[in-house]
């Protein structure tokens, strides 16, 4: 039985020009979804169906995009969670953080809490799905990968380490169907009280010297940051020297 895979997409923002574009992580989620389900992939957006960016996603080879029609200030969560429940999805793919709006990255977690499904964060790849369990690779810092298995159905947020999205074709994107349904009408009541402004540059942290005496201040201003040098091994045998290095590597856990 093929699995029902749903990718959630949002409107991205180009980091330099600020123009709307297909969001990087979301398009990777679509790419991963295409790998798992082919064109049976259901791609869902909660928002405005007239949004031109949706055509960029559709240009990745999608016959249709499902849009839960709602206004910009409405909360996307109720609409999405009732849609996912109705569709009996097996795997839901999202980005880690949206590129517009609050970009808190809470959406997949809230969905997981509401639906009672597990969530795996920062997925690099879904290797295989077998016996109601999926084998998932998580992206860790420093290029490391962790393998986990998770029961279906689950929600996965896709990391930048996942396979990059294919190019979007303009014509097929224009021809794709927008299947609209009505979304939620609840406004996000908390957000109304926030004030938003373009981001200010963060001040760089200065190195503050808390010296009590003039001599200490002088030392802090002139001393080289270099501490005393470490252990030097000169006259030992090559074997002992290598052992010392090896012990350090084991202690730092870079050799397992």
């Amino acid at each position: 039985m093929p699995h029902k895979v749903i990718s959630l997409i949002s409107v991205g923002r180009h980091p330099q020009s600020g123009r709307s574009r297909r969001a990087d992580q979301d398009s990777r989620a679509v790419e991963l979804g295409l790998k798992l389900a082919g064109t049976d992939l259901d791609v869902v957006h909660a928002g405005n169906s007239e949004e031109p960016v949706l055509r960029q996603y559709a240009g990745m080879g999608l016959p249709k995009v499902t849009v839960l029609e709602q206004t910009e200030s409405a909360d996307a969560l109720p609409a999405l969670s009732s849609y996912l429940k109705a569709q009996q999805a097996d795997i839901v793919l999202t980005g880690v953080r949206a590129e517009s709006g609050e970009s808190s990255g809470m959406m997949p977690y809230l969905l997981s809490e509401q639906l009672g499904w597990p969530i795996v964060a920062r997925v690099a790849d879904i290797v295989e799905i077998k016996d109601g369990e999926a084998q998932v690779l998580l992206a860790l810092p420093r290029g490391q990968r962790r393998q986990v298995t998770v029961k279906l159905p689950f929600i996965a947020s896709v990391d930048n380490a996942a396979q990059a999205a294919r190019q979007s074709a303009f014509g097929p994107g224009l021809r794709a169907k927008m299947a609209t349904q009505s979304g939620s009408t609840e406004d996000d009541s908390v957000r109304v009280n926030w004030s938003e402004a373009p981001a200010k540059a963060r001040p760089k942290r200065l190195k503050v010297v808390k010296a009590k005496t003039a001599a200490d201040r002088f030392k802090a201003a002139t001393a080289k940051p270099q501490g005393g040098s470490g252990k030097v091994m000169k006259n030992e045998t090559a074997q002992e020297k290598a052992q010392a290095i090896f012990d350090l590597l084991i202690e730092e856990k870079v050799i397992r």
Binding site: E113, Q147, V148, V150, K241, I245, E252, I255, R256
Partner: protein
């Protein structure tokens, strides 16, 4: 012993008073003292003035006995300063900080957040305590100077490794058991952000993410891929960016352990299968954790590549090795190459030119293998080995192969025991 130079008024007085019975004795201690000629004039013997300093240069002491502190009283080692202890008894509320503890130690990011927690307590008033909630292995020894009033170490096999579901259940239990005013998490890829989001969803709180300016009333956080500043009331759960506040450095804290009642953890739906072996050379060099770097002191290149493979290290190179065509340009470390952030950097036959040193500024531990004990790399290194690179790499490879053998046979034994 203190570093302060003390005057000895008695010695000064004796030296001024030529009639004092001890005058001669004190003057002879002082080199270049007064000598009166037959006519009563003060004579100076220029060759006797001064003394030879430790670096072989002649020094003249013009303090004239004002520094007559007994020699050797000035100890070289600066005294360890005992910071004042900040005590919190019977706190009314707690601020929970869940640090990343990468490698079992507090990161700089964690320490900034502990500093912020104390700032919040100072602004809100009341008797609050900062708690560090840790899971898994803890190697940190300096909780007290990092500003931790209480340590809540949640131990148990279910919380080891990758276990976000079990951990969030434990955190929810903490919330139920203690009066928690705020939950502070680092907004990091080391798991802080994941855990915070899970907890926020579980408790039904709306968190502030990527927060960078926080006080008791207001929080400024980034939104829309860091192009927007959102100002709002400070929520209960905060995920904080780096440098959100200054770390604690003027006080010592109790760091007394706290306990948590038994947590009943439901069966995990996510099962950890361990870390994958990744090709170390496929990791971008700027991110690699362990780099074996080659310089002009490598003569056997096949052996070097072999060593990197056996040790599982990412390869790096100095500019000379690249210019000579032994390594690709993309592997160059330094000012005109890549700036690396490795935890361990093994420099084999690299002298440590400043252009190279710039590239390894953020490295934690440098190991140098070099024939020249006086080179700059040896000064920077935590461990330096003086010797021929080829010989030492050969020994290292032998050790690594042995280690692999024993760990494999250990595993086989475990498997056969389990079966």
């Amino acid at each position: 012993m203190s570093d302060i130079i003390r005057r000895d008024p008695r010695a000064e007085w004796i030296m001024r008073n030529r009639l004092h019975p001890l005058h001669d004795q004190y003057m002879s201690q002082e080199e270049g003292g007064e000598v009166r000629g037959p006519s009563g004039l003060i004579r100076k013997f220029p060759h006797k003035v001064g003394f030879i300093g430790p670096n072989g240069i002649k020094r003249i002491d013009r303090l004239k006995g004002n520094s007559s502190a007994p020699k050797g009283k000035r100890s070289a080692a600066a005294q360890e300063v005992q910071l004042p202890l900040h005590k919190v008894e019977n706190p009314d509320y707690y601020i929970m900080v869940v640090p990343d503890m990468v490698g079992g130690r507090l990161t700089g990011h964690d320490k900034d957040i502990l500093g912020l927690a104390h700032k919040l307590i100072a602004e809100q008033g009341g008797n609050g305590a900062v708690v560090a909630v840790c899971f898994g292995e803890v190697k940190e020894e300096h909780f007290d100077t990092a500003g931790v009033d209480r340590v809540l170490h949640i131990e148990g096999e279910v919380f080891e490794g990758y276990a976000p579901e079990a951990r969030v259940q434990a955190l929810a239990k903490v919330e139920a058991q203690y009066t928690v005013k705020h939950w502070l998490f680092p907004d990091s890829i080391h798991g802080g952000c994941d855990l915070a989001s899970r907890l926020a969803a579980r408790l039904g709180e709306r968190p502030a993410t990527q927060a960078w300016q926080v006080n008791a009333e207001q929080t400024v956080s980034r939104g829309a891929s860091a192009s927007l500043d959102i100002t709002r009331k400070t929520p209960k759960i905060l995920m904080l960016l780096e440098e959100c506040a200054d770390a604690i450095d003027e006080t010592r804290h109790e760091a007394t352990p706290m306990t948590l009642d038994e947590v009943s953890v439901s069966a995990a739906t996510i099962k950890d299968k361990g870390l994958m072996a990744v090709d170390p050379n496929a990791i971008p060099m700027a991110e690699a954790e362990f780099i074996l770097s080659a310089g002009n002191g490598i003569h056997n290149w096949d052996q070097f590549h072999e060593a990197a493979k056996v040790l599982g290290a990412t390869e790096g190179a100095s500019r000379v090795a690249v210019d000579d065509g032994f390594m690709p340009r993309s592997r160059q470390v330094g000012a005109t190459g890549t700036w690396v952030t490795a935890r361990v950097y093994v420099a084999v036959g690299i002298s440590g030119a400043i252009q190279h040193m710039q590239g390894i500024g953020q490295v934690d531990k440098v190991v140098a293998i070099n024939t020249d004990a006086g080179c700059d790399m040896v000064k920077r290194a935590a461990l330096s080995v003086i010797g021929d690179s080829e010989e030492i790499l050969a020994e290292l490879m032998k050790l690594a192969a042995e280690h692999k053998q024993t760990s494999l046979s250990d595993q086989a034994e475990e498997n056969s025991n389990a079966a």
